[in-house]
Symmetry: C3
Subunit: 325 residues, 3 copies
């Protein structure tokens, strides 16, 4: 109903709706209203990051329109979310400070390139009825960070710290901070480390689907637990960075790609653990060359779960029919 | 005949047979008796390693039963061998000493995760009629070692030494030790570095198929030769670590996936050389971050050989019909 | 017409034509005459490199004949170009000096192994109608360099320098040298860093197809521009190393796999930029362990472009019908 009445309206308005859908798609929702709330949260956390995110989602959606991608995909926001994530991460890792206007150049180019990767990966993954998900984002951001290096004269960035690095001053773990970290884990999906905006993002997911929101929190808690069991740096727990891969892995299985039942619920928890441990492993590996693991762990785990054969496969929803639970 | 009479017996006995088949599958055999001999060899070499191996094979077989994997696959032992290898390697790399009971936690979890990976990789590899082989083991052990890191407070492990590292005290190569290394190469498939148990393992393979045993020794010799030509560390040659990938690569082509003829025999030697050189290369690469190359080289080489087109493909046995030669 | 009359001639002559086609295939041409010119250019630049290239192309073509590969593929030179590239790069990276005869051993073995990889990768890539391209070369050369290591007693090689390394003495950029670098970028496809032979190679491409030659120069210029924007080392710009991946990416899209139109022309420029930036990123990554990025960037980019869906896919020429434009 929403999409139909939009057909007659202006292209700009249509593009806004596609973009907002793209914003919501990052956190596996598919609702322009949730997207608007999330974007508001990002502007609240940092206007510069909000601007970068907006630019990224628009740049990649427009590129998809220009190079003639499938219009159903474009209007579903499928070409926006990778571009948005690339822009947000470029902003977070940049050491040139806010309002460094030259950064808009890689932001636009990187977001546009996501469309090429999305379009190129889809026939490969389609063979097994798999979604492209955030593979393009993960590839592009790693390439960008590798390309510029830490002491680039034009686009400097700070290297990522592996979570397994030993801490020099072994302080006590603060329980309240860890609990905050679980909530921040939801915000870290958008590379946002402030508590208020994280709660607003969680609210936006709740608006779309309470089941998805519950799994987001559960997954973030599982991820933090996994981090504790591996004795990662405290900062990693407090900032929510150990939780967000767990959250994504849990949401994908528990609230999106499988019909809900007790078996899939347990399965979602297993997926969260696997995502979280894989994230620690990949962060340690990529951290040796100063790279972040982004959401590689959750993306690979969710892809693996969708490939599973056996009795769990019966609960799987085909990609074409995935919608709000 | 053996499988049928088992249907009526107790589940525990059935599980034991499935497990023993899984143990034998590690070295490409498929026979509960060979499995029992190999398990005895492992307990002989180190009771702790034997216990870990037993636990690993049981944990992964049980997980496969619980998450409802195909029963023919489970009873064939296909879900056991990856879990066993993961457990053995976790034990070998741990620096916490024998009988460190906390290690049983990652052993059980890691073995269980292998089933998910096995199940998830099979539809991808099935497209080209390829076996999943030990890909899950290789992935899980690398993730585990990355996750814990060398100075983890709970699960410490020692880093792997790349074979290409220059030696400080250039001693003479001892011919007898190198010959022992060839025999140990067969044992190293089970991460076992003692001569007696290695011979028992070779005997277990001989029991299943003399052709397979001959190729195991031949491949190990080829691997040692490749190691010599690249001037790897002497320790790597003496311990059999340079031989075991060659052995696996040689066995897979010469005794399992291809019908035997002079052409496939030469082909098996080529496969052994390729596995051995690829193993040195990957060990040097992964050694820079302290990781072992496990059996990545042999697994990738065997997969490549199964993909070959041209006149050699005519000798290939379809995966469904692979059995004892 | 040429191929038919050859059937009656001697096998040696036939092999020479197949080999020369293989030489031309490196730079996406398919013409024995262009191949002969390119080979002459290589002998001009360095007789030792010329000899290695000749040996590599012959070794891999002969291996393909012996292991019974498809004869149409062999006579088209498809099994020669990977072997040639492997031999040339082995020669370039060797620090043992020219006329170090032991190097012929890895050259022959490496070239022969390319045929196995080519044959093994083709059924995988065929699913999406993709060419195997230079994947075998890229894999083999990386494995070889990893296998030998920098201080190997038999086959020493010098490590590759990542382009993002900061320069100690910040000199001015010389415009003439950069322009030379654009021309050298075409020669660097054959690992040849001399101006005269590079121009001869460009002439050989011009002979086969002026469109391809124009895209080679354009791509090399785009690659140099990308290098400038990322402030890579001056030496990398002067030697043409920052240009050759751009040239390959541009040629593949603009002159080979897509019918020519203004849209595909713009698309070829995008492909050149993407190849060039990906090359800087991969060179920085692989440079941390002393490895070169070879042509991974261009190969992956061209593969991605061939996978693209949407309106650009309509211009794509199926692999079986790719020929001179």
């Amino acid at each position: 109903h929403l999409d139909k009445c939009m057909q007659d309206k202006l292209f700009v308005l249509q593009l806004a709706v596609w973009g907002l859908r793209g914003v919501a798609r990052v956190i596996l929702a598919n609702n322009p209203l949730s997207g608007a709330l999330i974007l508001a949260a990002l502007y609240w956390a940092s206007p510069w990051q909000g601007l970068l995110g907006t630019l990224g989602v628009l740049a990649s959606t427009l590129t998809a329109v220009i190079i003639g991608q499938d219009s159903a995909e474009v209007s579903g926001g499928l070409h926006g979310f990778n571009g948005m994530l690339v822009s947000l991460l470029m902003g977070v890792f940049s050491t040139a400070g806010d309002w460094y206007w030259w950064l808009l150049l890689p932001v636009c180019l990187g977001s546009a390139t996501c469309v090429f990767l999305f379009s190129g990966l889809s026939p490969v993954l389609d063979r097994w009825d798999l979604p492209v998900a955030v593979f393009p984002f993960n590839i592009i951001i790693v390439l960008y960070l590798l390309c510029t290096g830490t002491d680039n004269p034009y686009f400097p960035h700070h290297p990522a710290t592996p979570p397994g690095l030993p801490e020099h001053n072994g302080t006590e773990l603060i329980a309240v901070e860890v609990t905050c970290g679980i909530l921040l884990g939801v915000g870290q999906i958008f590379a946002c480390g402030a508590l208020g905006p994280s709660l607003l993002i969680l609210g936006a997911v709740l608006l779309y689907s309470p089941l998805l929101a519950a799994h987001a929190l559960l997954g973030s808690a599982v991820g933090t637990l996994a981090g504790l069991s591996m004795a990662v740096r405290h900062e990693s727990l407090y900032s929510g960075l150990s939780g967000f891969n767990g959250a994504l892995g849990c949401m994908a299985v528990g609230g999106l790609f499988f019909t809900f039942s007790w078996r899939t619920h347990l399965f979602a928890i297993a997926s969260a653990f696997l995502s979280a441990y894989a994230d620690i492993a990949l962060s340690n590996l990529l951290g040796t060359v100063g790279l972040p693991a982004c959401s590689w762990a959750a993306t690979l785990t969710a892809t693996l779960m969708l490939l599973l054969t056996g009795s769990l496969a019966a609960y799987r929803i085909p990609i074409g029919q995935v919608m709000a639970p």
